[in-house]
């Protein structure tokens, strides 16, 4: 078994997808299906952002495909006038994989939720990220099971009281960004459903990234987990909780930029008052660093209690993609086959054949 060099990826995630000169509008991406999420659901805001953002890409609408699994968020494809598939629970990344490998001319999106992607579909998610499939995964995280009416999810906080955990849940949650980074993701971003500007910027960069992009979207379920992200939306201390990453800039936040992220004694990162540690101690953000250490530490700046919540781009690095590599092998083999003059008849015949002659006619 020998390792061979894989081709470097084409520079952009959408470079092989045909574009259009026609001006598109959000309305062009709106299907005739009535949207049936609950009133107040965060999914509406995300849908509006995506419909508003897609025209920017100038792609031919017919070359965009949204694939989803099962759950509230997985109804998403029905509401977009692109090609779409509402598949089965947890398996959307597998379907997107077959599509991305065989159709380089498509922009392939996966819409999934915390249950779909991190419970039943956890295996497929990590492998899609590891392989660096050229797909963009939107992970709607509302920390609850909505469609099955209110059980706790793999991102619910410990002690969550739900229909299935009346005495509180006892399992520790996943941190989706940490998980994605551990699964060798080349692009990881996070945004809040209601932050249209921030979400659109993350989507823009995710779509442009060649390889697997994971975007975690904090999204509110008003029925079963109402207000779960409210501390990030309103109140006096929002600015002390939310850190928006800006590449190349020192990581500062707070109403007056009075907080900064600095190295901790244990080798990670922690939040400090700049007045206490000095400007020079503040870490400068590097999204394109090959070493994921800074990104990982940022994903764990506080527990998932939202004390400090980082949004923006956690990681953006170039690495060969599975689909480009697989297609390159097929193309190389086709060229060799053509040069050799291989054909089906020769394949079927193989190397060792023998002939059976017709029976000789009896001589009189």
């Amino acid at each position: 078994m020998t390792a061979t060099d894989l081709p470097m990826p084409a520079p952009g995630g959408l470079d092989l997808v045909p574009t259009t000169d026609e001006t598109q509008k959000a309305k062009d991406y709106t299907s005739d299906q009535e949207v049936r999420w609950c009133p107040g659901c965060g999914d509406y805001a995300v849908l509006a952002s995506v419909r508003g953002f897609l025209p920017e890409l100038n792609l031919k609408r017919e070359n965009i495909v949204f694939v989803s699994g099962i759950g509230c968020s997985s109804r998403f494809p029905y509401y977009l006038d692109t090609y779409g598939m509402h598949s089965i629970h947890g398996r959307a990344p597998t379907i997107a994989t077959g599509l991305a490998v065989t159709r380089p001319d498509l922009s392939v999106w996966v819409v999934t939720g915390d249950g779909d992607a991190l419970s039943i579909g956890g295996n497929h998610l990590i492998h899609a990220l590891r392989r660096n499939m050229n797909i963009t995964i939107l992970l709607f995280n509302n920390r609850i099971y909505g469609l099955t009416k209110g059980q706790y999810s793999p991102t619910s906080e410990v002690g969550k009281v739900t229909k299935s955990t009346p005495m509180g849940s006892v399992d520790a949650p996943f941190n989706p960004v940490s998980l994605a980074l551990g699964a060798e993701a080349t692009f990881v971003g996070r945004a809040l459903d209601s932050d249209r500007k921030g979400l659109t910027e993350v989507l823009r960069q995710a779509a442009a990234h060649r390889g697997a992009s994971l975007v975690e979207i904090f999204q509110d379920c008003p029925i079963f987990n109402d207000g779960s992200f409210d501390v990030l939306r309103k109140g006096d201390d929002v600015a002390e909780r939310l850190l928006e990453l800006v590449d190349g800039e020192p990581i500062r936040f707070g109403n007056d930029g009075e907080y900064g992220v600095v190295r901790s004694a244990t080798g990670g990162l922690e939040v400090a008052r700049i007045a206490d540690v000095g400007e020079d101690a503040v870490v400068v953000r590097r999204a394109g660093e090959e070493d994921p250490t800074q990104s990982f530490a940022l994903s764990r700046l506080s527990d998932q209690d939202l004390t400090h919540t980082v949004t923006g781009i956690f990681r953006k690095v170039d690495r060969a993609t599975y689909d480009d590599g697989a297609r390159a092998q097929v193309e190389a083999a086709k060229e060799q086959a053509t040069a050799r003059g291989d054909d089906l008849a020769a394949l079927l015949r193989g190397k060792d054949t023998w002939a059976v002659m017709p029976e000789p006619e009896n001589e009189q």
Binding site: Y83, M85, A96, T97, G98, R103, L348, D352, T353, M357
Partner: protein, 628 residues
């Protein structure tokens, strides 16, 4: 087994014989599969008809010299068309005491036994529970025994190479092959050429194996112990060009051909599993034919990716065995709902659960037929022999593409690994599988919309509109769809209609009538089987007829939908016998569907039926004594 006798060179007797069954048996590490394969190639190149039965443990290297570690390869070759690898060997080659103990009961009295005496040490005998050395007592008296110190002789032949004793002894399987090749008048050139190619990167090993092979050949020629040699003339098969092929290879070639004949990219999404992995291995070599192979993280991802590829306009294929089908079931159901083409190649093995990975069984029929939630009909095709896997893959592709449906191919371990001669088809005669993608809106109301579930009146298939087609953007999924428009629908009447439409689509697939082989036309007993049991059933029928009785044989290739004339055929015989390597799955289907008193004869021993046992069952049936 002999018919004519002549005296050959050096005064040796040469017997002409019509057919021979040879079984090579040894330790898993002894290279018995390679030896058998090579002898098979010699028989094929000579023009014999042949059938093989490899039989090996699931462990890669079970403890050496033990009964669980025994690996064997049985080859049946003949000067006429044969149907099975043979029930019992005429010649047994036993490389150690374990191989002897595991196989000697199958050797008929009077059969030839060739034993490698070097392995019959006290320790090896004790390992398998021999209290006395069977080579030294009278327990082998009923057989014609040839005791050959194969390891010692091989070591001696390889002495000039300077190889270590241990390494030299490893070539003893080639010594055995040389001896048998001499005994059956096989040439040496092809095998020597094969060894040079196989060990091209290690010329020393190639030479060592060739030396051992020649030593075996010369041993037969120069010692006096073998008084008789045998000749089996080429078989009088139908005119054409032949090659030897295994079921898994034929399945892979059928899939490549389906890609070529449809003009579609071919995408295999799969996960390694015994005994289907060779389909992946083979297809991964044929990227030059536009074949993409994807080794997924699990069975579910394999079929998911295949279905995704089909959505994009490729021919999606997944290969697996029974445990994998269980994992794929939900996605197969999705494919039924999406109505997209998909091939599911199930190479069956012994179950339930992990079961017997390397042994054969036909117990996935009901899983393929009904193993999904809801009413989810899927066409099923079963190849009847190794080479037939090629045609089965093409036929399954034809149905999948024309009717936009997942289709099962039910192969099994015995035909997957077994081999036989295959008359290489003329590529010009292969079916045209080209498809037409939808390109225009189709709404009957003139709205200019595209309705993804508006069916073809003839086939009931829905249009296949692939992403990238402007104006046909649409969404499909596992939720019930409105008939025609394809939007989500929870309407009770619509669901009832859609369930019936999906069923009607599959039921309406035209499949050829089943043919009955009833040479005298007066049989009262019909024996009907499916899949790999074709050979043993056919061989059993020949025996029954040779004994002067009449029996009719029919074999099902299309298990869903079944041939339209099947009910009439079943009802036209007084007694119906259904042999199966399960506990009566086809018999149950036949009884349920046609209300016929089909009698099941079943066996689930991990090995194919033997012609002799089935002949007994059929003889009893002819006499009115049906299996319980």
């Amino acid at each position: 087994m002999s018919t004519d006798t002549a005296v050959g060179p050096a005064g040796r007797e040469v017997r002409q014989t019509h057919r021979v069954v040879i079984r090579f048996a040894g330790d898993s590490g002894d290279g018995m599969q390679l030896t058998g394969d090579r002898f098979t190639s010699e028989a094929a190149a000579f023009g014999n008809d042949l059938a093989t039965l490899p039989n090996f443990p699931a462990e890669i290297r079970a403890p050496a010299g033990t009964l669980p570690g025994v690996s064997s390869f049985q080859l049946h070759f003949a000067d006429y068309d044969i149907l099975t690898p043979g029930d019992r060997p005429d010649v047994l080659v036993a490389m150690n005491p374990a191989a002897l103990k595991a196989n000697i009961e199958d050797l008929p009295h009077g059969g030839m036994l060739i034993v490698n005496t070097d392995e019959f040490t006290k320790r090896n005998l004790a390992k398998v529970g021999y209290e006395a050395n069977p080579l030294e007592d009278d327990s082998l008296e009923p057989y014609t025994v040839h005791q050959v110190a194969m390891a010692t002789l091989t070591r001696g032949a390889l002495e000039p190479t300077g190889m270590s004793k241990k390494d030299a002894e490893r070539a003893k399987n080639m010594f055995a092959l040389g001896l048998l090749s001499w005994m059956y008048h096989r040439g040496t050139d092809a095998t020597e050429q094969f060894l040079r190619e196989k060990f091209a990167k290690k010329p020393d090993l190639a030479e060592a194996n060739i030396l051992a092979f020649r030593a075996g050949w010369n041993y037969g020629e120069t010692t006096e112990s073998f008084a008789v040699t045998y000749e089996v003339a080429p078989a009088r098969l139908a005119e054409g060009t032949y090659r030897q092929i295994t079921g898994n290879l034929a399945l892979a070639y059928g899939v490549v051909a389906a890609g070529q004949q449809s003009g579609l990219p071919l995408f295999l999404g799969t996960y390694p599993i015994t005994p289907a992995s060779d389909v992946l291995h083979e297809l991964s070599k044929h990227k030059g034919f536009g074949v993409t192979t994807f080794q997924a993280e699990d069975e579910i991802a394999g079929i998911g990716a295949a279905l995704g590829a089909s959505f994009g306009g490729a021919l999606g294929v997944t290969s697996t065995s029974g445990p994998g089908v269980a994992l794929k079931s939900e996605t197969i159901g999705l494919a039924v709902a999406l109505e997209l083409p998909l091939l599911i190649l199930d190479v069956q093995r012994g179950g339930p659960s992990t079961g017997l990975p390397t042994k054969t069984e036909q117990a996935d029929l009901l899983q393929a037929m009904y193993g999904r939630n809801g009413e989810a009909p899927v066409p099923i095709i079963a190849p009847q022999s190794p080479s037939d896997c090629f045609e089965a893959a093409l036929e399954a592709s034809r149905i999948a593409l024309a009717y936009r449906t997942p289709v099962f191919v039910l192969s099994d371990g015995s035909i997957a690994n077994g081999s036989e001669p295959w008359r290489v088809p003329d590529v010009d005669d292969l079916p045209d599988l080209s498809v037409t993608f939808a390109t225009e809106p189709n709404a009957p109301d003139g709205s200019g919309e595209f309705w993804p579930y508006l069916r073809d009146a003839d086939t009931l298939a829905r249009p296949w509109a692939i992403p990238g087609t402007a104006g046909l953007e649409h969404r499909i999924g596992g939720l019930e769809k409105a008939d025609g428009r394809g939007t989500i629908s929870y309407d009770p009447d619509n669901h009832d209609r859609m369930v019936r439409l999906r069923q009607a689509k599959i039921d309406g697939i035209p499949v050829p009538d089943i043919t009955v082989d009833d040479p005298h036309g007066d049989a009262e007993v019909l024996v009907i089987g499916w899949g790999s049991s074709y050979g043993p059933i056919g061989a059993a029928c020949r025996r029954v007829r040779a004994a002067g009785m009449s029996v009719a044989q029919a074999h099902l290739r299309h298990l869903n939908p079944m041939p339209a004339n099947l009910g009439d055929v079943l009802r036209s015989y007084r007694r119906v016998v259904v042999p199966e390597m399960n506990l009566g799955q086809l018999a149950m289907l036949l009884r349920a569907r046609f209300l016929v008193d089909a009698h099941s004869y079943t066996k689930v021993a991990g090995l194919p039926f033997q012609a002799e046992e089935l002949a007994g069952v059929l003889t009893d049936a002819v006499k009115g004594d049906l299996p319980a």
